[in-house]
């Protein structure tokens, strides 16, 4: 057992959430998430879905943290912070306390060594913040791409970090746990976060990196309808070339990813991803997708796309429009055609 330090405490609360980030965390660990936390000396103070304490007992734990009587290593909040109606936060009360989660977040965040937004809702506002934003939802320290949110741009946790935004809808269990582990070990600094406060653990990559449809992308051999194997960018709305995440470099649920499943990347790690209308359609101007790969000059993309389309092997072209591999890569077969 690796015990790096005594008792890094974790308090996990759910605001305007679907509970999906907790469900993701529960996928962690060969002996389960609880065992993994324990093996690193991370003590769960309370979690609404998981802990024994209920009602009065739970309120007592929160009160101890609020009064500073219980040291708080990480405050993890899942779900959007709802400001409505009219700034009261009453669309989301923490039951039994009479207080809004907006109020609780502001009361507890200054007590935490680190404050972690788990998921795109707590990070940026997420789906509940979509038009018409019926609950006046924000993230902990962002509203979409704008700094501010529930805690304000100047918030810093006790150890001096802004909110750590483990975005994703839901985030990969590994992103959550590796961030918590690095924080608990004192190994996580400002330099480990990108411009939106996302851990570079995953934010230094694009979801496109390592995509199993890579060959189709290279040749611009595209799927035109669902369940086809081709690249999803040209017609079906895939944003993997524009969204951060190592989604295709690590397995989701044992071996999947959104693009692997043919269901396209909707950039769920990005602030404002919920604003897209027509998620399964690639918007184009003059036949060219509006959203091009990050950092790629448009002229180059157009030129390379035209060139690669003209060079597409028959195998790749055929497979792109099939739901199963129609033609395998038989050595030498391409030369004969």
């Amino acid at each position: 057992m690796t015990k790096a330090h005594d008792d890094f405490t974790l308090l996990w609360l759910q605001a305007g959430s679907c509970g999906g980030c907790t469900m993701a965390a529960l996928e962690r660990g060969a002996s389960g998430w609880f065992e993994e936390l324990r093996s690193f000396g991370i003590r769960l103070l309370w979690h609404p879905s998981l802990s024994e304490e209920t009602g009065e007992e739970a309120r007592a734990i929160l009160a101890r943290v609020e009064r500073g009587e219980e040291r708080l290593g990480a405050l993890c909040i899942e779900g959007s912070i709802l400001h409505g109606p009219e700034g009261t936060g009453l669309f989301n009360k923490l039951s039994g306390t009479g207080r809004s989660m907006l109020d609780w977040a502001r009361a507890l965040a200054p007590r935490a060594d680190y404050c972690v937004a788990v998921g795109s809702c707590a990070a940026f506002g997420g789906v509940p913040a979509g038009a018409p934003d019926p609950t006046d939802a924000s993230g902990l320290q962002y509203s979409g791409v704008d700094m501010g949110g529930a805690l304000g741009p100047d918030y810093r946790s006790r150890k001096g970090l802004p909110v750590v935004n483990v975005s994703g809808c839901a985030p990969h269990p590994g992103w959550i746990m590796e961030t918590l582990l690095a924080l608990s070990l004192g190994r996580f600094t400002r330099a480990d976060m990108d411009d939106y406060g996302r851990p570079r653990i995953f934010a230094d990559h694009l979801a496109h990196h390592g995509c199993s449809r890579n060959e189709f992308y290279e040749f611009k051999a595209s799927a035109e309808d669902f369940s086809e194997r081709g690249c999803l960018m040209e017609h079906l709305g895939c944003k993997a070339t524009q969204a951060v995440g190592d989604c295709n470099q690590r397995a989701w649920n044992g071996g999947g990813s959104c693009t692997q499943a043919g269901s396209t990347c909707i950039a769920c790690t990005s602030p404002g991803f919920e604003a897209t209308r027509g998620v399964h359609r690639t918007p184009k101007i003059g036949g060219i997708p509006v959203g091009l790969p990050l950092d790629m000059p448009k002229a180059w993309f157009v030129a390379l796309a035209a060139l690669s389309k003209s060079a597409t092997p028959k195998r790749v072209r055929e497979n792109a429009r099939s739901d199963r591999i129609a033609r395998g890569p038989t050595p030498g077969a391409e030369k004969k055609t």
């Binding site: 305007g16 959430s17 679907c18 509970g19 999906g20 980030c21 469900m23 993701a24 529960l26 996928e27 660990g29 060969a30 002996s31 389960g32 609880f34 065992e35 979690h47 609404p48 879905s49 998981l50 802990s51 024994e52 304490e53 209920t54 009602g55 309120r59 709802l82 669309f91 989301n92 039951s95 039994g96 306390t97 509940p128 979509g130 019926p134 609950t135 809808c169 839901a170 309808d225 669902f226 369940s227 989701w252 649920n253 044992g254 999947g256 959104c258 693009t259 692997q260 499943a261 043919g262 269901s263 909707i266 209308r277 027509g278 998620v279 399964h280 359609r281 739901d323 199963r324 591999i325």
Partner: protein
């Protein structure tokens, strides 16, 4: 009369508050409050219709596939297509995996830990139960959570990830399974089966599926299944009299679960517990009442209703509306599904008490874990090689449509109106909206509210563990409830 507020009521999905009016140690009235409103119905209006496939799953991270499938069902109802046979199979496998994972999480993470509480110290079974089931620390969690994660690897193959997948379409799924994928699925299901047969049942699945009476169930718990976690629950339940707790409203509804080319694996129906009369559910007669909800007045018919909050409404105490079927509160969930499907064990458990109860709800959920694991094996073997997994969408027809599925926790309905390919109206009634509904205008309580009435809580008041058992026996999903 004293009023007790219990909250945050944890180890449920989402946040729940229960208010009990207690007189001489007995609960006279209970009020159940959903304390979160996110406005999903408003978020959907005006969007291109297919966007609901990206938004609806995010209502609930626990039953996201169910929300996806209800959305796919209402889209399918609005276009003249028949889904691909293989698409239905892959959908059912994924849906069953989610529902099993929910049942398993409920049993090991939410429900059993209450028996490890100090309130039961001194019971013969307490010490062993604490070691195995204590919240967060119990030994069983070191087996059950990895088994759950392994089961959810079926999602990696079919849906890319879980929760929140975009793989489910009106015409099927977005990825075809190749031969290797089918074999991987079978291996995953076999792994999960071996966990069940070792830890949960300590007996073959068929021994559980074949139980046909309460007497046989007791025999199983004392005999072949004695070493399993299910048997531990049965023995504790008998000791604590869980069968006498938490009677439901007497009407059990299922909209039909796991659609195949030949209809539903578990059929639709409405069962009256008192008379054992089973009939087609009159789903066109679902109405929602807002008299005790923080909601503006609106049409009772979900096809014409809106969901707009009003915090100042007099008498309101929950963000949940009160759904009623022909004016009556109904209970939904695994118990309703298996009772309607006619499983003999479940019918016998209901007949003994003449009503649903805490014990029967848990047994039905655990039984369904066994039934669905077997069904996953059947479905995987029924894939038609080289046939398609997805039929392309057709243009949507304008007008009102409805889609139903059975989520783990019961009947989930999406009512939508489309115009020119856009969403004009959208209303959602989730399982826990039924089970944890507030009162209606006639003062009739929701199913949980009724189940708590008359409970003798004695001196312990809100801390009486029976309150915890009754509430959690419904496996509420509060994030879905008001959405």
């Amino acid at each position: 009369m004293s009023r007790i507020v219990v909250g945050p009521f944890n180890r449920v999905e989402g946040d729940l508050e229960v208010t009990l009016d207690v007189e001489k140690g007995v609960v006279r009235e209970a009020r159940v409050s959903a304390s979160l409103y996110r406005g999903f119905e408003q978020l959907l209006l005006g969007r291109p219709a297919a966007d609901v496939l990206a938004i609806a799953p995010r209502i609930c991270g626990i039953c996201s596939v169910s929300q996806s499938l209800a959305a796919a069902a209402v889209l399918r109802a609005a276009q003249p297509i028949a889904p691909a046979h293989n698409g239905l199979i892959a959908t059912n496998i994924a849906h069953a995996a989610e529902n099993i994972a929910d049942h398993l999480t409920h049993f090991y993470v939410f429900f059993m830990p209450d028996f490890a509480r100090a309130a039961y110290a001194g019971r013969a079974w307490h010490e062993a139960t604490e070691a195995r089931f204590k919240a967060v620390a119990g030994a069983a969690l070191r087996e059950a959570l990895p088994a759950r994660a392994r089961l959810l690897e079926t999602m990696g193959l079919i849906a890319g990830k879980w929760p929140h997948s975009l793989a489910f379409r009106p015409g099927g799924v977005t990825r075809a399974l190749a031969l290797g994928d089918e074999m991987r699925l079978l291996a995953l299901i076999a792994d999960f089966r071996s966990f069940l047969e070792r830890a949960l049942f300590s007996a073959p699945l068929d021994a559980v599926i074949g139980l046909s009476s309460a007497q046989e169930l007791d025999g199983f718990a004392e005999g072949p299944g004695a070493a399993g976690d299910f048997a531990t629950f049965i023995r504790i339940a008998r000791d604590l009299g869980l069968e006498e707790m938490g009677a439901g409203p007497g009407l059990l509804l299922s909209a039909g679960a796991y659609l195949g080319s030949q209809g539903h694996r578990f059929p639709a129906g409405l069962l009256d517990c008192a008379t054992a009369l089973l009939r087609e559910p009159p789903l066109s007669r679902v109405e929602e009442d807002v008299s005790h909800a923080y909601m503006r007045d609106t049409a009772a018919d979900p096809a014409r209703a809106e969901t707009l909050p009003d915090m100042r409404r007099e008498g309101a105490y929950s963000f949940a509306k009160a759904p009623r079927l022909e004016g009556r509160a109904v209970e939904v969930g695994a118990l309703a599904r298996q009772a309607v499907a006619g499983h003999p064990l479940i019918r016998d458990l209901l007949a003994r008490r003449g009503a649903s109860n805490v014990f029967a709800r848990i047994v039905a959920r655990v039984l369904e874990i066994a039934l669905l694991t077997r069904a996953m094996e059947d479905w995987t073997r029924a894939v038609a090689p080289s046939e398609p997994y997805c039929v392309a969408d057709a243009p949507l027809v304008d007008g009102p449509f409805v889609g139903f599925v059975e989520a783990a926790r019961g009947t989930l309905g999406h009512w939508a109106s489309f115009r020119d390919g856009q969403i004009e109206r959208y209303q959602i009634i989730a399982p826990t909206t039924w089970n944890f509904s507030p009162r209606d205008a006639a003062g009739n309580p929701g199913p949980l509210e009724r189940a708590l009435e008359g409970l003798d809580v004695g001196e312990a008041g809100a801390t009486n563990v029976a309150v915890q058992h009754i509430v959690r026996s419904f496996d509420p999903c509060m994030v879905c409830t008001a959405h």
